[in-house]
């Protein structure tokens, strides 16, 4: 198995795990982490594409690498927005859940 194929499989696995987590995990913070897992998988795929698409004279194709950097910045910004929203939701309701019924419960227990 070549390195590129191995990296590709790892990328695919990361996307798969992340997708599973995004759908199955009810907690918003875990969903966000799952999103970041998918992101890592996608960036890995970009890395392989950069290697495979290498034209004559370049060891790597620079275009996908430029895209990965942009992608990472965007994913970082997205995570920041999501964490801000989750934090605000916690400070307003005392719960971190998307289920409105849970907010009215008297206990302000921390969900983890």
């Amino acid at each position: 198995m070549t390195t590129a194929a191995l990296a590709g499989l790892v990328g695919a696995a990361l996307v798969g795990f992340g997708l599973y987590g995004l759908i199955v995990q009810p907690h918003p913070l875990r969903k966000l982490l799952a999103f970041n897992l998918i992101g890592s998988g996608v960036f890995l795929v970009f890395g392989i594409v950069a290697r495979r698409g290498a034209a004559a004279g370049f060891p790597f194709d620079p275009v996908p690498q430029a895209m990965v950097i942009t992608g990472i910045v965007v994913a970082f910004a997205a995570s920041a927005v999501a964490v801000a929203l989750i934090w605000r939701l916690y400070s307003e309701t005392g719960h971190v859940t998307l289920d409105p019924d849970a907010w009215t419960e008297p206990s302000r227990e921390r969900e983890s």
């Binding site: 996608v42 594409v49 698409g53 992608g71 965007v74 994913a75 997205a78 999501a82 998307l98």
Partner: protein, 500 residues
């Protein structure tokens, strides 16, 4: 498509249309909190003028307008390209955003002697960011560039949902964000695979290079899935009703009228401009089938809502379904696919204006009577005649009764489905019209009945007029001449290998 990109006359207008709102955002940060509303409102006439100039330019030359950023043509550089549908959408976005801005000018104004509020600053900045993102989406010709625009659109739209900071709105915004993040990362993975398979992301170049290989199919499915999540097509619509129903009225109008159309526009670009070599009956049938399901499910759920804004939001779910009938009805190069194309674009425009008008009118109503419970609207039509005229006329367009843009769209859809022998698509189109009539009737019956309604504060006349003007545009779309339909054909690639 032999018209590969070098800058054409008037191409600089495209970059100006993007730079204008971005300049506005930067000015808002520099000049500071007290003047944000004046900056945003002051720039709207220029935005309208630019959109109009681009449309004029495209119409005059009869060909798409190109701009190669930095003078570098693709594949090395990034191109901007405005064709018929871009120009129409640029104008529609400019009109609706301007209307929403003026509608909201008092609610988010910073008065003398009052400390500037974070809400006002965010509203005006996000409104301009939505404008910038939509303009990039409408003129972008590079799939990665479009990804960034899509993300910009999401990041600008999500805060508008939770402007007032109530827990429900925060949860709605978070749910919206999570759906959107799934959508964008899925789209991005598709972009990576497509680049790996074809070595370029420029739309015109890709159209020449795409072959139906497994990698391209995977990329196409991932990108489409991601875009559907952002467009809120059934069954990925769950985030839309709470998000659109909880935002301030002006924001709801923009979100429902324009923002979901941004990702729909990209789906159109993807299947009709990038992947015509891939379009098959199966793909068209899947998208059309999901659209039909959305029409029915959205319509039925709209019938069951107790709150006016939720009803309107579910109506958006239903009307989005209509948009996806364009895929079976406009595929390939047939005489009828032109009709299907016209129908789809007409539906985009008619819904954008009618829905924006409806949300603005619902905002006036909620401010005036202090609630938006439909059953308690008894006598409201007598208190707010102009607003209820707006709601009725917007409902006319949504239902598809003549004369209105909605009627033209649905009539053309029926024509295309009969002419193409795919009569099956006429059933959801007709059924959705009945459901729309049903839910509009549910709003109007209590409102037109006798009753004493308590007015909390008098309606603002200019807000009623703005909503009414948008409704009039939705109606006027029913009278557009043939030259309009020729205009939206500009730059549409005719698939050589497409649906049979």
């Amino acid at each position: 498509m032999a018209d590969l990109a070098t800058t054409t006359p008037g191409g600089f207008l495209l970059i100006l249309a993007i730079l204008l709102p971005v300049t506005g955002i930067i000015l808002c940060f520099i000049v500071g909190g007290r003047h944000v509303d004046r900056i945003a409102l002051g720039l709207t006439p220029f935005g309208l003028a630019l959109a109009g100039a681009i449309a004029f330019r495209v119409g005059q030359s009869g060909k798409p307008v190109f701009y190669a950023i930095g003078g570098l043509p693709p594949p090395l550089g990034i191109a901007l390209r405005a064709d018929g549908i871009s120009a129409v959408m640029l104008v529609a976005a400019a009109v609706i955003l301007t209307a929403a801005a003026f509608y909201a000018r008092e609610k988010f104004a910073t008065l003398d002697g009052v400390r500037e509020s974070r809400g006002a600053i965010s509203f005006w900045i996000m409104l301009q960011a939505i404008w910038a993102a939509l303009n990039i989406i409408f003129v972008g010709a590079d799939l990665f560039n479009l990804y960034v625009a899509l993300e910009l659109l999401t990041f600008a739209a999500v805060p508008l949902v939770c402007m007032d900071g109530r827990p429900e709105t925060l949860a709605a915004a978070l749910r919206y964000l999570l759906f959107a993040l799934f959508g964008s990362i899925s789209y991005l993975l598709g972009v990576a695979l497509l680049y790996g398979a074809c070595g370029t992301l420029d739309i015109s170049l890709l159209a020449l290079r795409v072959r139906p290989t497994p990698a391209v199919w995977t990329a196409a499915s991932l990108m489409t899935g991601g875009l559907l999540a952002k467009t809120a097509l059934f069954p990925l619509h769950l985030w839309l009703p709470p998000a659109h129903a909880n935002a301030p009225a002006a924001a709801s109008a923009v979100l429902s009228g324009l923002v979901v159309k941004g990702s729909f526009f990209l789906t159109l670009r993807l299947w009709f401009f990038v992947l015509p070599a891939l379009s098959t009956e199966q793909v068209a049938a899947v998208l059309g089938g999901l659209g039909s399901a959305a029409i029915i499910v959205g319509g039925v759920l709209a019938l069951r809502q107790a709150r006016l804004k939720l009803l309107i939001a579910y109506s958006t779910v239903s009307q989005i379904g209509y948009l996806f009938l364009i895929f079976p009805l406009a595929a390939g190069a047939h005489a009828w696919s032109t009709i299907g194309w016209s129908a789809g674009l007409m539906q985009v425009l008619a819904h954008a204006f009618a829905k924006a008008a409806l949300f603005l009118a619902a905002g006036v109503l909620a401010e005036t009577v202090g609630h938006d419970q439909i059953v308690k609207f008894g006598g409201a039509a007598r208190a707010l005649p102009l607003t209820f005229l707006t709601i009725t006329l917007a409902g006319l367009s949504l239902t598809g009764l003549p004369p209105s843009g909605g009627f033209s769209a649905k009539w053309l859809m029926l024509q295309a489905s009969i002419a193409s022998g795919q009569w099956i698509w006429s059933l959801p189109a007709l059924g959705g019209g009945l459901l729309a009539a049903g839910y509009m009737y549910r709003i109007l019956t209590p409102a037109l009945s006798d009753g004493k309604i308590s007015i909390e504060r008098p309606p603002k006349r200019y807000q009623e007029v703005i909503a009414f003007v948008l409704t009039l545009i939705a109606l006027a779309l029913g009278f557009v001449p043939q030259s309009f339909f020729d205009f939206i054909e500009i730059g549409r690639p005719l698939a050589e290998t497409g649906l049979s």
